[in-house]
Symmetry: C6
Subunit: 274 residues, 6 copies
């Protein structure tokens, strides 16, 4: 099964943004599905891994994309030894195991994938396998979690309101600067001052982003930049390769951002971020 038995060890100390762990637990105990929203790299996947470890449930992750069919989720008939045998998909395996099933970027999936979730996300908590002629009622420990990034402007698809209303929705955002810097330093081993300069650089770009309409840099790219610095790259090289270069393919915009980022990195005498 596509579970991750050791997520607790890998994610280390998850840093809560607000009341999202408590609400997640409430939803878990009431059998309600959860929808996580927020910008790229703000920690949605890490949060689900943390909660799976906290609640001691296996985690089944499915990265959604626009060719994902309901058969990819629930299962299909497959030819084995000349005969046709039903094979459970990851969603069905998660329901049977009472696991947490995490559909990452659910807005990317096709409609038929989402229709099979209806009977799992209302009072029925049941999966109808029409083609296998089987009905699977979810145990109390099964939980469905979905995520999507509502601010992503490149998506042509939108979740139906009637689908969104089936979930307890937890809106996430970036960590506050001090916590973000601490996370970067802890995960990579760079000195805290370096991590603070990287966060200051990212926040300068994030502020500019409101005018320029591109996806702002995530905590994840700061961690990657810090890794490169540990490995020997300069702070400017790392910020260029991880923060600035992925942002835009338009030279003019990138030049402007480079000055903003450089200024943020240089400002040794800037007040400490809090």
């Amino acid at each position: 099964m596509t579970t991750e038995p050791d997520t607790a060890r890998r994610t280390g100390a998850y840093r809560a943004h607000g009341n999202e762990p408590a609400l997640f637990e409430h939803a878990f105990h009431r059998g309600a599905p959860v929808m996580l929203t927020g910008p790229t790299g703000c920690g949605k996947t890490r949060f689900v891994e943390h909660m799976a470890a906290t609640l001691r449930r296996p985690l089944v992750t499915v990265s959604c994309h626009d060719d994902l069919t309901s058969s990819d989720l629930v299962g299909r008939f497959m030819v084995t030894g000349g005969d046709v045998v039903w094979t459970d998909g990851p969603l069905t395996r998660a329901v049977k195991a009472g696991a947490i099933c995490y559909l990452d970027e659910v807005v990317e999936a096709r409609h038929d994938s989402l229709a099979v979730l209806h009977s799992l996300t209302d009072h029925r908590r049941t999966l109808y396998l029409d083609r296998a002629g089987e009905i699977v009622t979810a145990p109390d420990t099964f939980m469905l979690v979905c995520s999507y990034n509502p601010a992503y402007r490149g998506s042509l698809k939108e979740l139906k309101p009637s689908f969104r209303q089936r979930f307890v929705t937890l809106a996430m955002t970036y960590l506050p600067p001090a916590a973000e810097a601490e996370t970067v330093a802890t995960e990579t081993g760079v000195p805290l001052a370096v991590a603070q300069r990287l966060v200051r650089c990212a926040n300068a770009v994030r502020a500019a982003d409101r005018a320029f309409h591109f996806e702002p840099p995530s905590t994840r790219v700061l961690v990657t930049a810090a890794h490169l610095i540990v490995s020997g790259a300069t702070e400017f090289e790392a910020a260029e390769a991880c923060v600035l270069a992925p942002l835009s393919t338009d030279g003019a915009i990138t030049d402007g951002l480079r000055e903003i980022a450089a200024a943020a990195l240089r400002s040794a005498d800037a007040p400490a971020i809090s």
Copy 2:
């Protein structure tokens, strides 16, 4: 078979909105199919479950989506043991069993799925399985029920008028406030005063919705919010996660709605809803 033998127990006391149970029974006894229309979560699925229990018929539910083919409904040939054997789909099984077949959100299905319904929804009451070379005449107890939400603005599809005219159409809407609050309290165990505040909050948003053009919150989300409150969440947290966050991905609109909702929750001295 994908039936739900114990729906009567689960749905508890269905609360009629108007004359819809009587008209549904008339249609059942005259062999006429029924179309339920109304906003998301106003109780269409619960109503069908209630009527199936009342009429003592098994219920076969199919969630329609835009990859649903006529083969998914009527059946297909499948390879078993090296040979090809016809396997009935849920619609065919419902016809043969004299069950109520409920096609939820029928507007989402593909046209060919709807064409197979033609001979079932006029004086013929017959299912032609062209590929299997079989003709199935429905027993008197078979009933076809469809639903769709005409106000949902995200759908590119529209039911053909000639299809809509094949059905007795029952238009449903939300419960009146007092009945809705009572339902929320009964289903979740929150005090009636809490349920009344949640309903007042929902009605404030529903009124605003006429200007903002999004799908209004359903009774279902109030039930989920009440569940979270029972589990320990505050009323504001529950209303935020279940009523407001699913509505919109545009921050500005959500901020405005948050004030409206908060005012509705705070107004302890507001006149009792009736």
Copy 3:
């Protein structure tokens, strides 16, 4: 075979609108295919059933839709017992049996379905089964009948002129009011006065339809409404559920129509329809 051996009994006394039975018989005896045009529910299907009974030919009906392929009509190779065997489709079976083949709503079918009809609808009267390597010449008693609703505004497709010219075209419309009321009363058992009020109600809506551009109510919906009345519904309930509710999903329009319909039902002292 998908025939209806007992259509004569079920359709009862077909009520001719004009010269269409005579022209249909002329076309049958000259081997010419017929195209029936007219609004939804004006009686096209019933007319074909009546003519099949009159001419003592079996009737094969195919409801067209936009996934209907030529293979669905003429047949396909299917795996049976490890080998691949050709299986005739309903059109091929009708040709071989000298039956009347009725393609309902032919405009919905895909182009390739229509191309296989070319050699059947000119002087050749022959079906070429290219994949089976077989040529089937139609016996004199075979007849192809198609129907479509030219006024339906929701269709993106249009029949090619060269295709339409292959048919003797019979344009049908609603029965005159007195005949329509008599039909409703005879089929359902409601008193003639009730049937007349329902027809008056329908004609009021049909007149309004020319301004509002929706599909007008058919005789079929009046029959369904009368059935509900027999079963115990009031005339207003039945007219609401069968005539008005299927017309439109826009509340404003429906309110206007409701007044028109109610006025037509109330007008006990209105002059008798003729």
Copy 4:
């Protein structure tokens, strides 16, 4: 094979429009493919049948449509007795038999169907069956004939110029009135005067067509109308059902045309058509 061995008998005396039989023969003897253009029903198919009979070649006809693949033309692998065997398509069979292969309405076919024709329509006169690994060189008696109607305004597709230049193009049009009336009378047995009135009626509509932009009535519909008259229909009924009703679905236009057609039918004292 999908040939028509007795076309000479059925088509009777083909009536040449101009020099098209001589040019067709020149092309046949020089191994050049022919493209027939002209309005619906002007006699393209009859002309090909006549030439096949004159040149004593079998005729293989393929009605093109937008799902016609190159495999439908050249052949495909099919499962027979557990193994996969190549089966020639109609084009391959025609090449091997040295027949005339007629692709009716070639503009409707998909591009890949046309690409397989390239090596058959230049100096190579060879069919490459890439999937079967076979090369078939056409005998001298093989001829490819295509047709399309350049004036049909409903088509979104257009033949590529480089494809059109591969053919000797023969532009056909309607017969002159006297010849058309004689053809109608000869084929159906109606008196010549009746045939002349039908032709006068058709020409009145054809003239109006230049303003109204619909497909004009063909000789074929006049033959069908004459058949109905022989069977007992009046001239007005036959003209209505065969000439006017297929033209348009817009009532206003049809009313105008009906007056024009009626005037043409009535004008007993009109000068004889020549």
Copy 5:
């Protein structure tokens, strides 16, 4: 294999337009692929056949179209005797045989067909058969040649610049008038004076084409016209059927061109073309 072992004999004496044979040979000896551009029928295919004969390499020709997949080029797994066996496609066979592979009208092919060419058209000269798990390095005698017509205005597709840059590009155009007339006379046997009038006619139309935006007549259509003349057609009939009729379906334009062409054919006293 789909090779043409006798092309040298059939193409006779190829008439070079400029330095294209020398550059083609340079590219062949340096292992560089060649792209031929130019209008329809200017001789691209003949040139490739001539070079294959000159270089004594087998020639594998593939007519590209928009359903051509990479599997059609490199090969696929096929069921034979119950098992699945890899079968080389024409490109793979050409690489293994060290042949010249000619992709005619390559712009019509799908993108995935072109992607498999990348590793063959740079310093690797290697074909990766991912599905077969095989790597084929091209021998020195393998050469890839593609062609397309950049002036064809009906194509929606465009070759990617990065793809075009992989080729040595040889731009071809029509032969000069004297050479073109000589070619027509030599290939068909018409007197040189007739060939000169046909070329003068074609050049008159080609000049008009710059204003009218249609594909100009090629040398190929002049050869076909000359064939018809040899067979007995008049010069006007042949020019009409081969040069004018394929150009346009718009009567007005064709009438204007007909005068231009007729004038060119009539001008017996025009100065000899050079």
Copy 6:
């Protein structure tokens, strides 16, 4: 496996543009994936080959295109001997072998291909083979490298920002003129002066390109031109066939560029490029 064991020998001495080899090594040692951006033919593929040789890792290259599915990358079930056996795709083979997997022109691939990369490009470094029910954790030596050309204006697709942020992005461009001329001379054997004139010619066109919006000529086309010169072509012929002809299909633009290029080639007395 689709590896290239001898890349070190073939690529010869890679000429670094800047700090890209060092940053690539940092990313390799920190387990971070790399995205290479830059214009066509600036050396991205050569750089990856060089780094694979430097790091002594096998290289698996996949040319992406818009029919590339996730199954083409990770593997699929295939019928072998009557049974269905899972067969690893090139990505899975690269992960298992600890190789460098290079997805060339990744922007061309379909979304589902990219979704399977998510779990490989974050802290999980794991490949989930949902259909095979297998989880493959990448060894430390596995590295994913992607490339795309952000300036290519013909692409309708764009990489999602959340996808771009998963990579260390290295922006590459053309070599400086002196280094480029030296590379051309070294790889082909032309005299350095000839290589310098070709580079001067390319840079003249590249400068013009900023106004004309086409893809500028790459180092690769200069190498091909130099090869033709070595083989006997003149510098003008080689520049015409390799630099100018692929640029544009619009005669006017090409004429202007031809003068620019000719001037650059002629300027023997121009100052030496540096």
